[in-house]
Amino acid sequence: MTQVTIPETLKKKAEEIFFRYPAEKRQSALLPLLFEVQREMGWIRPEAEAWVAETVGVSPVKVREIITFYSMMRAEPVGKYLIQFCQNISCCLRGGENILHHMEKKLGIHVGETTKDGLFTLRVVECLGGCSWAPMMLVNEDQYFVLSVEKIDKIIEGFRSGNPVAPDHPTPLLGNVAGEAVA
């Protein structure tokens, strides 16, 4: 087995996280720490899992329980770009399913798979809280709204060519909240 070293940045991050809770409540750091491990290392390797258990001071089975309960925790590697496509009501009402099928064709994979070049993993998820901007998806940490076949093509080609389309940050204003300011 290859040796996996825990990056120093993570160790520093752990101290920062413990600081958020009363001194004796170290278990609270479990989820944030796993989140950071995943962010830093791409996925949660068994060695990192063991390190988290040791650092937090809980049994390894507690850590396992958290990883299996929370759907965003990944105990296996994913592609460079993890696409999470919303399949809930508001997105489906605005044609999300067709756009998802188009994406499958475009990437040449089915939902749940990773492209051979390791670039994209495609997953469906439940409501991402962007229902007024439906259909929506996340690519890694970036949000993309009001998806169409054309927009998907641009986004995928952008990633392929190393020239990513800018994400929708911040979320554009839609509705009367976009109107002129009133006292």
Partner: protein, 419 residues
Amino acid sequence: MIGNGSVRLLSKNFDVPNMATLDVAMKHGAYDMLKRAMKLKPEEVTELVKASGLRGHGGAGFSAGTKWGFVPKDKFPRYVCVNGDESEPGTCKDRLIIERDPHLMLEGALICAYAVQAERIYIYIRGEYYYPAKVMAEAIKQAQAKGFIGQKILGSDWSCTVHLQNGAGAYICGEETGLIESLEGKKGWPRLKPPFYPAAIGLWGAPTIVNNVETLAFVPRILDIGPEKFAAMGSPKNGGTGLFSLSGHVNKPGVYELPMGTLLTDLIHKHGGGIPNGKKLKAVIPGGSSSHILTADECENLPLDFESVAARGSMLGSAAVMVIDETVSIPQLMHWMVRFYAHESCGQCTPCREGTDWLLRLSKKFLEGTARKRDIDDMWQLADNIDGKTICALGQAVAWPTKSYLVKFRHEFEALCRN
């Protein structure tokens, strides 16, 4: 007022460039209301919020001031948790508050913490909100540097720290006791009730106020315009305005801030621009996917406030209004809806864990053309076996819409049956 009955009270600065930065926010009055609140006694602040008629915007619509008053007198420490889990399908308004005016929410949370004399605030933001969480983290840092957060705030004896916590993809962590369990570093399994509110026994067993992002963002505005004026803006027992997340088949989906009690048909037609492509309205889900569906007829003359929507047999919930036109098949909608709850059931109670799974299988049969008439009754029975027999309200959240789809659109299910 902008005309059309639209009122931007909470959202009035959403379109101010760089409102998330403290300098800009302070030019627009950020933290002035914290200063004003801290000149009052903590219990006076609670009374003021009570008088405003502010209701919880997270789903249950409970009076915010009343909840704050539940904190037991001599029990310390105390905590405030801001519920930014925003996972009820259809709901997408807290994301805008966090991204566009994070200091307003922070100020509201601090005023709440002052009112209940809490020493820590945890802001729980769903894991998928990477960008909103980044904005909030920066806002906290800036407010801390200016002394609005931390030791001896504004030179008083009261100290309070603020911490951000990310969720990790579990709808159930929006349920307030699930949220607390998650904050304690556990699976988000909701706690047995009673106690009915964590106000007495919450985070690490301490008194804890859990309020939604929007609820807290209203608090500075209440101090600003006064509770009477706030109360008068809404409808009876429903103070002020609300942010309505409008989605589905409307010409202008978006987030609309409107007085509580605004007519549903006004939201859809006047504000939302009506149904696209000349199609007819078939149904509306008025308060997130957990609410009973309303037929087009039931949408007429319906004021969007907690009591009125309940009187029509549904609920306002998180005020997420999903509009459904005549092209949509209700059995298809049922499948989308049930799939969500089957995925999100935390597995703690048997009726919910097993029931949602069976509902999912049966709902699929209608789409595959293998359903029989008895499947309709079986689905109703399954929903009834969940309803009221579970630890948390996710049970009802799937049972209620399921029953309403089956009862109100039975003919559509029958039409897909083989016998």
